[in-house]
């Protein structure tokens, strides 16, 4: 069995993700985790905290799409790291209320 590159070379992946900063406007924090998804396929889960302004309903999609494209174009998780990308977005206020450790 061949280990996906994103799992075999976590340090390299971490370096590339660190180099993605600075992110497009609206991003407060980016966290990620590499693990199998429900189907058993290797995946990378991005947990992205947005400013409350960027998370407003009227502009949210514009921001989330720009951020998703930004990361996918530079990292190319599927082709370069053999990882299927999942992107989840929360507002700063939502995370402040939840204090979810995975997002801190």
């Amino acid at each position: 069995m061949i280990l996906p590159r994103g799992m075999a070379q976590p340090a390299e992946l971490e370096k590339e993700i660190a180099a993605l900063a600075p992110y497009p406007p609206g991003v407060i924090k980016v966290r990620y985790a590499v693990e199998d998804d429900w189907s058993g396929d290797p995946a990378i889960y991005f947990r992205i905290t947005l400013s409350d302004e960027a998370a407003r309903r009227e502009v949210r999609r514009q921001h989330t799409r720009r951020i998703t494209d930004y990361i996918e174009e530079r990292l190319d998780p599927i082709r370069r790291w053999d990882l299927f990308p999942y992107f989840n977005f929360r507002s700063e206020s939502e995370q402040a209320e939840l204090q979810d450790k995975l997002w801190n």
Partner: protein
């Protein structure tokens, strides 16, 4: 209104309930409905190619979610065509396939992972993505590559 439109509208309704104190059950069902909106659209479109209209509902039920996921996953990882005229529709199909895989994964988490806490922003974003994928599908649905995709969703070609 088509059933998949109803599902998307229902997803939005659930995601926006109780804006100051959203309930997890509403957000989870919202994410699930967003996935089924796209999934149902694809299987219904595929069933339209079945000649006997009375059997189309049964035909649509032949599709298996895991098989559809495998097919969509292959589309996502294959290279784009070299013909510039085909790049835009191919990009639309990749977006539909990628969104299908993503929403199916999120649906599974929403339905089975009780430890995951959902927020309105997360649910709303997934609904937006489903809506974008449905728009992308509407641009390509009659093209050969989209029709091939529908057939492939049923099972691998030999």
């Amino acid at each position: 209104m088509a059933y998949n439109d109803d599902l998307l509208e229902h997803a939005r309704f659930l995601a926006q309930l109780n804006p100051t104190a959203p309930k997890q059950v509403d957000l989870r069902r919202s994410v699930s409905a967003a996935y089924y909106s796209l999934s149902h659209l694809l299987t219904t479109d595929a069933a339209q190619n079945w000649k006997n209209a009375n059997q189309r509902y049964r035909f649509a039920r032949l599709f298996e979610h895991s098989q559809m996921r495998s097919c969509a996953s292959r589309i996502v990882s294959r290279p784009l065509p070299s013909d510039p005229a085909q790049v835009s529709p191919a990009n639309d199909l990749v977006f539909v396939a990628k969104t299908f895989c993503k929403l199916q994964g999120e649906r599974h988490t929403a339905d089975y992972d009780g430890t995951k806490v959902w927020t309105q922003s997360e649910a709303a974003d997934l609904i937006d993505i489903a809506e974008d994928a449905i728009a992308a599908w509407s641009r390509i649905r009659t093209r050969e590559l989209a029709q091939d995709f529908l057939l492939d969703l049923l099972g691998s070609r030999q």
